[in-house]
């Protein structure tokens, strides 16, 4: 029996926050008014001086969580391995930084941390005692472009399996399940000057059930046919960015399923039909239901970065439309009201 819960990543409302149209409290209020009961937060985005926020910031957080009855589900944590220009951080420096993130998550009432892709595997074992002490699980994000075929991801998974602790796992970003290139991304690049022929070439890759990343890997770079089409910086920008969208089958998760702690339900564009343009959410939720997934799925709107200049930012509308879609599908699958 699955128990799929929904939440919203505050990443989805980043432009509202950046341009001060919405404060953190406005965001909590908006989500609560729309029956959202759980959130995902990037402390570095919406909490000043994270991982060492002031007492006042923490008091404000406590007030928001209790006033709006919001469950803080997961904190998205980064590791600044390139903090300095002239060297990489040492293992000790990496571990020390992440200990502070674990303590912050615990203080915020959060039991799960998303470690950004490319976090080195060697941090896990030294962090385990802290994860246990503070009751915070650490889960590496599997993100398109930095997914299962990447060495650092493979190293992390190997170490995760070796340690086999309930405090170590994975977060899956559904950008690995794009069956079409996000149209908003292609439109944005076209506005920058990308040639339609280049866009058509990439779209064709998806139509064949492949993705640009796989094709580039097979060809050791851009295929000759694509190279011949690339004429401007905008063409190259588009061709490079296109490898951040993968076209995997859901079954790629089978092997890792016991370790999956959370999903980023990536959203590029809700269409007028109430579907996501690139990702089959009915299919994914059916798969999760069949697998007995017990955890959260989090709306992560990223179409905001592809809004054309002069066009309205519709983060709130997009989030609500996506929440409606996934709640309805879950309701159908579980035969009950789900928020």
């Amino acid at each position: 029996m699955s128990k799929i819960n929904t939440c919203v990543s505050l990443y989805s409302l980043q432009d509202e926050y950046l341009n001060k149209r919405m404060s953190l409290e406005d965001i909590f209020k908006f989500l609560a008014e729309n029956s959202v009961e759980g959130i995902e937060i990037i402390p570095d985005q919406m909490m000043h001086n994270a991982p060492h926020p002031s007492e006042q910031t923490l008091a404000d957080w406590d007030r928001l969580v209790s006033t709006y009855k919001m469950k803080p589900v997961i904190a998205d944590v980064f590791l600044n391995t390139n903090l300095y220009k002239n060297r990489e951080l040492t293992k000790k420096e990496c571990v020390d930084l992440l200990i502070e993130e674990i303590k912050l998550a615990n203080r915020l009432g959060i039991k799960l941390i998303r470690l950004v892709s490319m976090v080195p595997a060697y941090v896990i074992e030294p962090l385990l005692p802290y994860a246990e002490k503070y009751n915070v699980t650490l889960a590496l994000e599997i993100h398109a472009g930095l997914s299962f075929d990447v060495k650092k991801t493979q190293d992390f998974i190997k170490e995760m399996k070796r340690l086999n602790s309930p405090y170590i796992g994975l977060v899956i970003d559904t950008g690995i399940f794009c069956n079409r290139l996000p149209r908003v991304m292609a439109d944005y690049c076209k506005h920058l000057g990308t040639n339609q022929e280049v866009i058509d070439y990439i779209n064709h890759i998806f139509e064949q059930g492949k993705d640009p990343r796989k094709v580039y890997l097979e060809h050791n770079g851009f295929p000759t046919e694509l190279k011949q089409l690339l004429k401007s910086d905008a063409d190259y920008f588009f061709a490079h960015m296109a490898d951040g969208y993968e076209n995997e089958h859901f079954s790629v998760l089978n092997e890792y399923f016991p370790y999956i702690k959370h999903f980023h339900f990536k959203l590029f564009e809700m269409t007028e039909k109430g579907e996501e343009y690139s990702i089959d959410y009915k299919g994914i939720l059916q798969y999760l239901h069949d697998k007995g997934y017990d955890g959260y799925v989090s709306t992560e709107y990223e179409g905001n970065r592809w809004v054309l200049p002069g066009h309205p930012m519709q983060e709130k509308e997009q989030v609500l439309a996506h929440q409606k879609l996934i709640r309805n599908v879950i309701k159908e699958l579980e035969g009950q009201e789900v928020y």
Partner: protein
């Protein structure tokens, strides 16, 4: 992608200190979706009417109290450039911008935690100095 974050409108003005124009300043949001220590700012570039300002004439601040040159910023880890809070960029140049219209370009380049290539943003604005 993050170009829209760069160079906030109506923030470019001359700096007047004790009756003298000692340079000009402008403000910008970060070309990223989260805050980072100043050491992760890879570069800031300013051009005035097509001419590049020398790196050593640029200083930046997140609180307008402590100012750092770009070289100094490389080791500044305890001041964070927060998401949603502008960085003030000053160009120290006697006389600042002359009266009239100028094309000012700002480039902001930051290092991110996991993307191998730094994230850059650029914005050019026409600024009127009266």
């Amino acid at each position: 992608m993050f170009d829209n974050n760069v160079f906030l409108e109506n923030t470019c003005k001359n700096i007047v200190e004790a009756g003298n124009v000692t340079g000009f300043e402008l403000k910008t949001n970060i070309t990223y979706y989260r805050g980072i220590p100043l050491s992760m700012v890879n570069d800031i570039g300013v051009e005035v009417d097509g001419e590049k300002i020398a790196r050593e004439h640029i200083v930046c601040s997140v609180d307008e109290v402590a100012w750092f040159t770009l070289d100094e910023m490389e080791t500044v880890t305890s001041y964070k450039w927060e998401y949603g809070e502008p960085l003030t960029v000053r160009v120290l140049k006697d006389g600042g911008l002359s009266n009239g219209s100028h094309e000012i370009a700002l480039d902001v380049v930051v290092r991110t935690a996991y993307i191998p290539v730094p994230l850059a943003g650029r914005k050019v604005r026409t600024v009127e100095i009266a």
